[in-house]
């Protein structure tokens, strides 16, 4: 309720941003890759008031006095969407470690709009990102999709109900110590200390949510519990779970839990997805792939023992498993477009690769109504590249976020 209010306001702000430059903007003559049905070798994109008005070939007409930018020899694509951005939040604020299960936490409370990560992502063609709590909790909290432009969270916000962070594998139990009698000293003497314990925590939370839901339907006056409210929304399918699962066993566990409680889940950083494609297709699961160029998992996930393969994206594409490419927590060093470029190097088709960093994440994150492709009515998030985006020598020459130039 409150959140939708928030979103509306954000939208209003974006519109306001557009009104500032009320003039019609036309990108003319470039090779337009819409990431939708049709591409236009000699294309036209018309933008007005922060929205895309028209997309098409040379035939598209536009009013006099419109500002026309000549894009001959250049490539026009939708703004990129990084479904796995790791910047914008200070390290300690990424996880609320006071408890293992904190579904009511919202990443919006800790987004740091001045973080340079936003500017850098923007300059590399990324116009929207998913930010979500970290993996140190079993159930971490709510993620959000934000634009990479605008000084305040409200201006940047696109959607704040994109997913609930659940984490499998070694990270949630890392640092915890077993209780084994005696007095528990300190915060980290607690469960879980094993993968089993992690799963057990998830089960306990969701079965509690089930009871709470029944109790509430029977007795209207049961005191509201914000944490369980969130889990109930998951159970009722209003909210998607984003499960971090790198190693094969974790991926399978994540799918098992999802089917057990009947909720929808996205598999985050599914490094070993190439090993359980059958399961993924069977469960109609969707994946977020981190850092395709990595030869080994580094950072917090190293303990999961997952082994990357270079052609994972290509295999998923063949098997028809919907997936998006993210920069991810593994290697944040390169920009999103270059991660996709490596996927292409390793065998992924360029069109699929482009969709994997535009419309695919938009769909997975439930913001495809506003972002992800060049289509009339969508936000004017557009990138003009100096050439083929998957050529390593190409640079983004113009980045528009909500119709406003975002390149310095």
């Amino acid at each position: 309720m409150q959140r939708s209010l928030l979103t509306m306001l954000a939208a209003a702000v974006c519109a306001a941003g557009g009104i500032a430059q009320d003039q019609v903007l036309v990108l003319r003559g470039g090779e337009v890759r819409t990431a939708a049905r049709q591409d236009y070798p000699d294309g036209t994109v018309v933008l007005h008031r922060g929205k895309i008005v028209a997309v098409g070939g040379p035939e598209v007409t536009f009013p006099k006095g419109a500002r026309v930018i000549d894009c001959k020899g250049k490539v026009v694509t939708p703004g990129l969407i990084d479904a796995g951005a790791t910047f914008g939040v200070r390290p300690n604020d990424r996880n609320e470690q006071g408890d293992e299960v904190t579904p009511q936490m919202s990443i919006l409370d800790v987004v740091h709009p001045d973080d340079e990560g936003f500017a850098r992502a923007r300059e590399s063609g990324v116009t929207a990102v998913r930010l979500i709590p970290g993996n140190r909790n079993v159930i971490g909290g709510l993620g959000a999709v934000l634009k990479t432009r605008g000084g305040t969270v409200a201006e940047m916000l696109v959607s704040d109900r994109v997913g609930l962070r659940v984490a499998m594998g070694s990270e949630p139990s890392a640092g915890n110590r077993a209780i084994r009698g005696g007095v528990p000293l300190g915060l980290f003497v607690r469960r879980p200390t094993t993968r089993m314990g992690v799963v057990w925590e998830v089960r306990r939370a969701f079965s509690a949510a089930q009871k709470y839901r029944e109790a509430r339907t029977e007795a209207k006056d049961t005191p509201p519990d914000p944490a369980l409210e969130v889990l109930v929304q998951v159970l009722e399918g209003d909210l998607v779970v984003h499960t971090t699962a790198r190693a094969e066993q974790d991926i399978r566990t994540a799918l098992r839990l999802a089917s057990e409680f009947g909720y929808r889940t996205v598999l985050d950083e599914a490094t070993e997805a190439y090993r359980c494609i059958d399961a993924l297709t069977a469960a109609k699961a969707t994946c977020l792939l981190g850092a395709p160029s990595a030869e080994q998992v580094t950072g917090g996930g190293a303990g999961d023992g997952a082994r990357p393969r270079w052609h994972t994206a290509a295999l998923l594409a063949q098997a028809g498993v919907p997936f998006a490419i993210q920069t991810g927590t593994n290697l944040g060093s390169r920009s999103l477009v270059h991660e996709a470029m490596f996927a292409v190097r390793f065998g992924l088709g360029p069109d699929t690769a482009l969709r994997a960093i535009t419309i695919a994440p938009a769909t997975i994150l439930g913001v495809a109504d506003r972002l992800g492709s060049l289509a009339p009515g969508k936000d004017a998030d557009v990138v003009v590249w100096s050439g083929d985006p998957f050529d390593p020598t190409t640079v983004p020459e113009l980045v528009l976020v909500g119709g406003e130039e975002a390149t310095p």
Partner: protein, 386 residues
């Protein structure tokens, strides 16, 4: 030297319980930041301000001791809105982060060294606050810098909440700002809820919601401040929105881009001690806020800190009058003690400081301090009947 002052300050008041009537004339008398008398007169009687300027009768009785301070400046006793003095350890209950009903005055030691120093520097009243180590840290109270017991003016001046990093603890809930803000929201929601049982902590939170008690949030960086303001922002569906709550900010050093929202949503800002090392924007913030009619006060551990903050603020564009108000009238109002302190209007307590210049200039010296009519610091002979 300080210890000597302390001893002096300690004994002086007891020595004569009923202060003498005093007629002060000076080149400059600042009755209030907006009312400054030149070559004015001030009549103190019974520890109160009996008359100011024109209202002072030409002829006063022989019992009145006349003092001509020449070209000195008389200002109301300075007021510090937020301090922990040196009772640091006692002012935070670290077992849990939710301690709204704890009172700082109960850990206040009127004989502490810090108090004497405050007095010597011209601070006659201050708000003693819990340390920002807890999310809902507790209640700040207002006291006179008067080493006698019973100097407490108010037990509950405002409720202090902190979302700064030092309020987070990696060994207990909350460890992140997500958790801290969740704690604050949940606390107010439950307190406001009809089903909530009556407990002391909820009483406090309800007083905040009713506006009876100011709510001070310690937030420093731009995003901390933004989240603090969200609490009172109807557009963000803040927990305090729509209620009568009065939101103050403590710190706000990084808020130079949020001044307009602050002006719209906050009742005032308490500036953390300024030092030359801070970023220029942080030093210019008081000026920016004052320009938007935001009421300011200072947090300070000592009078030196108070005056350095004021001086630096003025150095970066804060008008002198505003700086003086931030050291007297405004903090008094915020602490809810403006019926007695903060100005020298008729009927107020006779708390005043005599400077040999403008207190906003660091070059100005404290000549004398008068507390409820008693000369308590500075040159003892100056205001006392010889």
């Amino acid at each position: 030297m300080l210890s000597l002052l302390c001893a002096f300050a300690a004994c002086a008041p007891q020595s004569d319980p009923q202060p003498p009537a005093l007629l002060i004339s000076a080149k400059t008398i600042v009755v209030a930041p907006d009312l400054v008398l030149t070559d004015g007169r001030l009549l103190l009687r019974g520890g109160k301000v009996a008359a100011v300027g024109a209202s002072v009768p030409q002829e006063v009785g022989p019992d009145v001791h006349r003092v001509d301070l020449g070209d000195a400046t008389v200002v109301p006793g300075l007021v510090v809105a937020h301090t922990c003095l040196d009772a640091e350890r006692d002012l935070a209950e670290t077992v849990t982060a939710y301690t709204p009903e704890l009172r700082a005055v109960e850990a206040y030691d009127p004989y502490g060294k810090g108090v004497a120093e405050m007095l010597a520097g011209g601070v006659t009243a201050f708000g003693i606050a819990p340390r920002s180590a807890n999310t809902l840290a507790g209640l700040a109270g207002a006291v006179k810098t008067d080493p006698r017991a019973g100097s407490v003016l108010r037990n509950e001046s405002y409720l202090l909440a902190a979302i700064v990093p030092e309020a987070l603890d990696q060994q207990r809930f909350p460890t992140s700002r997500m958790g801290a803000l969740d704690l604050v929201r949940t606390a107010f929601r439950t307190a406001a809820g009809p089903l909530a049982a009556q407990t002391p902590d909820r009483e406090v939170l309800r007083d905040v919601l009713s506006g009876a008690l100011p709510f001070v949030v310690h937030a420093r960086t731009h995003d901390e401040v933004a989240r603090a303001l969200d609490l009172a922002d109807p557009a963000r569906d803040g927990v305090l929105a729509g209620s009568g709550a009065r939101l103050f900010l403590l710190g706000a050093g990084g808020a130079h881009r949020a001044v307009d929202r602050i002006a719209a949503l906050a009742a005032g800002v308490v500036i953390e001690p300024l030092h030359p090392g801070l970023a220029p924007e942080a030093l210019a913030l008081p000026a920016a806020l004052a320009a938007r009619k935001v009421r300011l006060a200072f947090s300070a551990g000592s009078p030196r800190e108070l005056r350095v903050s004021a001086a630096l603020a003025v150095r970066h564009g804060l008008p002198r009058a505003a700086a003086l108000a931030a050291m007297t009238a405004w903090p008094a109002a915020m602490l809810g003690i403006d019926d007695r302190c903060g100005t020298l209007h008729q009927g107020k307590d006779a708390d005043l400081v005599v400077f040999d210049g403008d207190p906003v200039d660091l070059g100005a010296r404290v000549i004398a301090v008068c507390l409820q009519g008693h000369p308590v610091a500075g040159d003892p002979g100056l205001l006392a009947r010889d």
